[in-house]
Symmetry: D2
């Protein structure tokens, strides 16, 4: 299917402010960018680099005054999300090298504290994909999804206490539970077609069988429509913007995802 | 300045043919991509990866029949090419690690054969930038630039015998001469505003002082207007397309570069 | 100076246990490994890879029974630790790309919570090296260094509450304080000549001026004698061993560092 | 099996000479370094980095006078070289990204010139492993192996004219023939137990099925005993030493490989 995504941020900048953005989706094995736009107003110098995960990051210093970022893209993705019930757990010694760091705890995913809980939630399940599906299902039933609340990230332990959260929070708890079972898990940030209300989205992926699979406890059913902007261990690694110096907040933030062609 | 580039290829494919393309310019320290389009007709799956130089490469299998590639971009670049007469030669032991491999001979740049010639051409010059400028100047005066002739690449030795060549050939000879003096040099492929006749272009960069500088012996004066698609040791690394299986040739190939905004 | 380091671990393994070790020091710009030994008893297959930080990591599955790891090395290091009072703070927009991720919070360094405290501790100091030196000094005076206590890592917030900790804890708090000031900081794990009692050690580095500098609040005076095994955002990234499955603990763990040649 | 390797170079240096060495074998999936020594006499500063292939490289400036390099290692390797008759050819579109550059011509492997010859040599063979085995066999029968002749490298075309060569030459021709068939191939430099006369050795690897396989046309039978120092596209990438400035030649060069434990 072919999707059109767009994202607009506007800031009132009171003193020159360095930003690191992650707003350029990247063509890869899962998505193909056929059109793309990235406009800064005023037009200022910006530099791009690739982080250690392979995400495209943009660096700039926003000048005083109104500062606007506009990005849009046409992205071709597969029509369905691949699911693989029964895909086996991979013992640590057989995991690819580049996947190993996604087993470890991270800022918002204190996986070392979730062993017992993860075992309980997945009791009786086949090791691997089915464990992750059980975690996703448990999240869906247990943690109330509150779209739109957009405070600073909280960690999996706090999410579990609060029993509610934004998409990122559910994903963080899912990741912590997977890692507690020695299943590599990572956070993905991007767009999701059909999300209500429309906004940036976050979900998680788990490595079982021989690849990463998408999981998203905020949706009743995970079908297609996911466009990734970046992935990493947790929200620290994949902020769509990191800003340094005195805090500035977007005065407008608007996201849209439209279907151009269903591919059918 | 803001440039609009476009590139069109059309092929008649008689059997499914794997391609590796290098047609997506990348935002970096020197250029910012503010708009971009990459269309394949028919629309087929394509995958992107980053090669060891950091270039974006696209993989696909062209199906039987007419196959068209269209890319276009709006690229913001600096208004002038930086020149640095006097920038010093960097002794090998002080070169950054990542620059070292550009000292070695490569497929089309047999630098080990050019020591004497490089010393003669640069006699009396300050070590560093001025040596490279002398090489560029010598190429301009000595090797006849024949735009448009587009055979298979030939190596620096052959270019030197032939005393003429396309842009890539002049660059290969320039690179071989630089490396013969222990100056790192690399080939860049991309677009050049104002090139006559308009086509894909190739030039070279040399590392002196503390950075890479642009050199282009095909132009009387090297001003601005360079948009890079990729860089590498020589043409092997930066083919805009590599095709495998029985050879296919473009039935049309069209390049354009237009000025959108001079930045003045 | 030339140091001889050694490290011995022994485990009683009750079921086959995957390990990821970080026990091979790496030659780099700061240290040169002139001799090295890495023995496993029983001798079992082990595989090495490089993590995203460039650290050498060893993977293996420890078999049932007594399992011993012995490593030793002769390492040439500079005779003094470089200090640079006055080295300036680098504004975020001028930091090298590869340093940026060391500005962000991590599992054990919740830097976002330390802004006010960091400003207070460094009040009146020149921005840059002198701020970090003030942090190191404050740690030395404030947080009681308790060598040998070796529980699971605790985070900077917890260290600050407890007002005491092992080397790793002091480093984590130092890192959190630096990052709160937008100074990149990272954890280093390795050997330190003259450490009392001798053990594996952890310290931190901060990026000011144009390079990383060593800081260590556990020592009255930071002179020379540091041999790095690995570096990363915090203890998550640089465990000398990560073990998966039911927890196993070393029954013996022994570290030695001896001076072979003072270089004087 | 456990092998002890050693390598000694001595040079008479008349003016300070930068070197880049590739003399530290690396632990990986195929070999485990259990002991290692790397001595420079006089003892001078040396720095290590990893090239784009993952090889460990050492940089130093040899001072005036006698300069000696001594390296030795104990390396655990598998007891047999894996062979896989029937392992299938991998179509270009299914090759892993990181393998693609080994399809292209390189300085000493002008693969674009060997299509017809490669087809003839492998006529009637199953595509994949069996083609490479046919190439190895053809080299063994056709190109006279002249150990010890150690001139500057010559290219595959020249080797084919000369019909004789050192180990590196046979490997270059083998690589060119493989690539001409769209089979990725790379040069490996290192040690070979039982080589007569003992010296540094070079062989090649081809990617078929799902991995790299060892081929060596200099040996009647390729069994075990290979310890790699580095790999790359051809000899340009894996010189055990690259030296810059006026040429210096080793006054002694000595290599030994001994069996410590046959593993049986």
């Amino acid at each position: 299917m072919l999707l059109a995504t767009s994202c607009d941020f506007e800031f009132d900048i009171t003193e020159p402010t360095p930003f690191i953005l992650m707003l350029r989706p990247r063509s890869g094995a899962q998505q193909w960018i056929s059109r793309e736009e990235y406009k800064l107003t005023p037009s200022i110098p910006a530099f791009e680099f690739t982080d250690t995960y392979g995400n495209l990051c943009q660096r700039l210093v926003a000048p005083r005054g109104r500062f606007a970022i506009h990005t849009e893209a046409e992205v071709m993705i597969t029509d369905t999300i691949h699911k693989a019930p029964g895909a086996p757990f991979v013992e640590v010694q057989w995991l690819p090298n580049e996947v190993l760091s996604f087993l470890l705890p991270s800022r918002y995913c204190e996986s070392e504290s979730f062993s017992r809980m993860a075992i309980e939630i997945t009791a009786g399940k086949l090791l691997g994909y089915d464990q992750v599906a059980a975690i996703e299902d448990w999240l869906r039933k247990t943690i109330r999804y509150l779209p739109g609340s957009s405070d600073d990230p909280i960690s999996a332990i706090e999410v579990n206490k609060k029993q509610s959260g934004v998409c990122r929070d559910l994903a963080h708890l899912g990741i912590a539970l997977c890692r507690a079972l020695s299943i590599p898990a990572r956070l993905v940030v991007g767009y999701n077609y059909g999300l209500v209300p429309m906004d940036m989205h976050a979900w998680f992926e788990a490595f079982v069988g021989d690849r990463w699979y998408v999981f998203d406890a905020t949706q009743k059913e995970v079908t297609a429509g996911y466009v990734a902007l970046g992935f990493g261990r947790d929200a620290v690694d994949v902020a769509v913007y990191n800003q340094f110096g005195p805090a500035v907040y977007p005065i407008t933030q608007q996201v849209s995802v439209e279907l151009i062609d269903s591919g059918e």
